[in-house]
Subunit: 150 residues, 2 copies
């Protein structure tokens, strides 16, 4: 890839955690090095939805999932507005699935040149046991990854 396009199209997977928000500052800065477009991706973890459906089955799980998606879109719209204000072309994607494969699928589909990701997500305990999503992304992606720390 030519130097010119190194930071051109950025994939930004976010779970709306503090460190994911911090990563946005780095994306903003990369505008100066040729950053043009940001694909913002939030994956609604279908395993978590499964748990919620079990918990709330009697109280309307469909309604619950709808609310989760609605909340996610609110966050996404805020992120989108901020990045557009910084001069980026922005695409927002909310996907249902398992985070790692969804992130890798979107990386391929969009042909991004860089992934910017927080080092840890929200589920700290699980990550201590299983490794963080970002570690797996780094291992599996074909694209350079900028890992932003807490």
């Amino acid at each position: 890839m030519g130097l010119r396009y190194m930071f051109n199209k950025i994939l930004y997977p976010t779970d709306f955690s503090d460190v994911a928000n911090k990563a946005m500052d780095y994306i903003t800065k990369l505008k100066e090095a040729g950053g043009k477009e940001v694909i913002v991706l939030h994956v609604i973890d279908e395993r978590a939805i499964g748990d919620i459906c079990l918990l709330y089955a009697s109280r309307g799980s469909v309604e619950m999932v709808r609310r989760i998606e609605e909340e996610a879109w609110k966050e996404m719209d805020n992120i989108g507005a901020r990045l557009r204000q910084e001069g980026f072309k922005v695409k927002l994607r909310v996907e249902r699935g398992i985070p790692l494969p969804e992130i890798l699928r979107v990386e391929q589909e969009e042909g991004v040149s860089l992934i910017v990701i927080g080092s840890h997500g929200k589920s700290n305990v699980e990550e201590m046991l299983l490794g963080s999503v970002s570690e797996k992304v780094i291992r599996k992606s074909g694209t350079p990854v900028l890992v932003v720390k807490r």
Copy 2:
């Protein structure tokens, strides 16, 4: 940290592998986003030196180690020349030790704002078993890490 200094002082650990060389292109590009200074770090793995000394004990291990250091400095000087040509302030460091702790020590000592590192080093088989040095750096460092892939 202010936006201004995000990519200001870059630590670039290298084992002179192809992917480490590729990482240099990304450093060059980061100049546009405020990159000013690069600390180039090569760690001569003292565990490997131990092996060499055992192998070559009868044929002068001191001479062997001296040659390894000499070769390392040749590579370092080339890297330094290239980065200076790109307009960076450059500091070259060759350290003896174990790569991970040396990288983290230099990160602290130099107060860098970013680490740029290749995803894999030269010792592929060992890394498949034990995980790559860069994975460990990402986990332990306090600084954002840009991981460049093969």
